[in-house]
């Protein structure tokens, strides 16, 4: 019974965070760009969340006649489904975790690799040239960045000797892994931005060239699903970063563990938004080139050095 409550609680909190991020993102973007942002509906404009959601629900949910109907419908469900499945392994506190799988990190990587399908299928099923171009960019970008996303996490796994996120957090009691694995953190975060295709790596939906990329044809709540999927993705990458590199729920005792986890996660969500506010979008070939020629070798080097040092210290 306790499991059911944990699952429901996690779902409730996550979906509310994803909706609340609409407001947070717009207000923070406005602040960093010297504007006011939405400030009319409710205190500080927070009711914009409600207004936006209602608007999405009441818009016409249009399926273009030239689209592949069933694939078109399935695509937005895949992104939310795969991201929500990844939260199964996130340890919010020692008790609040849906399942501490012993293949934890691998499960996260597997689910995030399934997330590619939402972009690919959404773009293909729309039967629209811009969508198709966005889908192809998205697929190649996510495959390229997934490779070293896994590799960048393996340094931490080596130091802990376990794939379980619970064990990884507990291993950071004395020192956060950010100190021992700074390169791993940077690589993982870059890969995370590319995985969630957030700015500056939002090349699959680059609005200045591709209209809205893979979701040009989507409207109503189907578009809303892509939207929520993106915010959930940001939350997921932030949560994994916190659990892997910043000691998860660990912190001084004046705050409960869950508060530490959410506080740290929130800092990274804000960092995602700051990146959007400040960085221009690279060109597509530049993105692929940095991925394969710079970041992947760096991840391999990081892995090799970590392995060698771990062997020396233990040996």
């Amino acid at each position: 019974m306790q499991h059911v409550w944990i699952v429901l609680g996690v779902l409730f909190v996550l979906l509310n965070i994803a909706a609340g991020l609409i407001w947070v993102e717009r207000r923070m973007l406005a602040m960093w760009q010297d504007r006011l942002g939405p400030n009319r509906a409710g205190p500080l404009g927070i009711l914009i969340v409600l207004a936006d959601t209602l608007k999405l629900f009441f818009k016409e949910d249009w399926i273009p006649p030239f689209a592949d109907k069933w694939v078109f419908i399935v695509a937005p469900a895949v992104v939310v489904g795969s991201v929500l499945m990844s939260f199964v392994i996130i340890p919010f506190t020692p008790q609040i975790i849906v399942s501490d799988l012993n293949v934890g990190i691998l499960f996260f990587l597997a689910m995030s690799s399934l997330g590619v399908y939402s972009i690919v299928l959404g773009g293909w099923a729309s039967n629209n040239k811009y969508s198709l171009l966005g889908a192809m960019r998205g697929a190649s970008q996510m495959i390229a960045y997934e490779v070293f996303m896994g590799l960048s996490l393996m340094g931490v796994v080596m130091l802990t000797g376990s794939f379980k996120l619970g064990d990884i957090v507990n291993a950071q009691k004395d020192m956060w892994f950010v100190v021992k694995q700074p390169l791993g953190l940077i690589l993982f975060f870059i890969a995370g931005i590319a995985e969630t295709h957030r700015l500056p790596f939002d090349i699959p939906e680059a609005e200045s060239e591709l209209v809205a990329g893979y979701h040009s044809e989507y409207s109503g709540m189907k578009f809303g699903m892509f939207f929520i999927g993106e915010y959930l993705g940001i939350t997921l990458i932030s949560a994994v970063t916190v659990a892997m590199f910043f000691g998860g729920w660990l912190g001084w005792s004046f705050l409960p563990p869950w508060a530490w986890f959410f506080l740290k996660t929130f800092v990274f969500i804000l960092f995602f938004i700051l990146l959007r506010a400040s960085l221009p979008r690279p060109r597509y070939d530049q993105l692929m080139e940095t991925g394969w020629k710079i970041l992947l070798p760096l991840a391999l080097a990081n892995l090799m050095i970590t392995g060698a040092v771990a062997l020396l210290v233990r040996g």
Binding site: V103, A110, S113, L114, M136, M142, I143
Partner: protein, 177 residues
């Protein structure tokens, strides 16, 4: 636990049948993804979570994405679906189906006779896999590495661009250097 095994097996088999019978290549690939997920569940129910996740990461998450990528590039339209339909005539599939039906019959007979021991259900922990890969089967791993390397060299060779000059001045400039 046996129920989980049978349910995921049925899903995997049904999805595989759909893969064969779909005319639209992307639909077939989607069912192939479902079939891989089913196989991953089978591994999980047999106590091999590591193999299950690898199945999803490698096959469902990377290889099939590349397949779909290629299909998208080819932009197969209605003509290819019609062609597929023409190929799905009974005379093409009836021969192999009879032969596989015979094999299936044999398998059923063997299973009902109960001659073989049931599969042992034990959890294979993560450490055992790399230890056996880099211990007992190290030669197989290295040979696979050779094979993959040959594949990469071949792909790099085929994918190499011939240098195109947009203008003869640029060519002359480069030749001068």
């Amino acid at each position: 636990m046996n129920y989980l095994f049978y349910i995921s097996s049925i899903v995997a088999i049904a999805a595989t049948v759909m893969v064969i019978t779909r005319h639209q290549p992307v639909h077939a690939l989607l069912y192939l993804v479902v079939s891989f997920l089913g196989v991953a569940m089978i591994f999980l129910s047999l106590g091999a979570p590591f193999v299950a996740t690898l199945e999803i990461i490698l096959y469902a998450g990377a290889i099939i994405v590349l397949f779909i990528f290629v299909v998208m590039m080819l932009n197969l339209g209605r003509e290819s679906a019609i062609q597929e339909r023409q190929w799905m005539q009974p005379k093409t599939w009836i021969g192999p189906s009879i032969l596989t039906a015979i094999l299936l019959g044999e398998l059923l007979v063997l299973l009902t006779m109960g001659g073989s021991a049931p599969m042992p259900q034990q959890t294979v922990d993560l450490k055992k896999i790399p230890l056996s890969l880099y211990g007992e089967y190290v030669i197989a791993v290295e040979l696979t590495g050779f094979l993959l390397m040959a594949g990469i060299v071949g792909a790099a060779h085929i994918g190499r661009h011939k240098k195109k000059y947009l203008h003869r001045f640029l060519k002359q400039e480069e030749e001068a250097v």
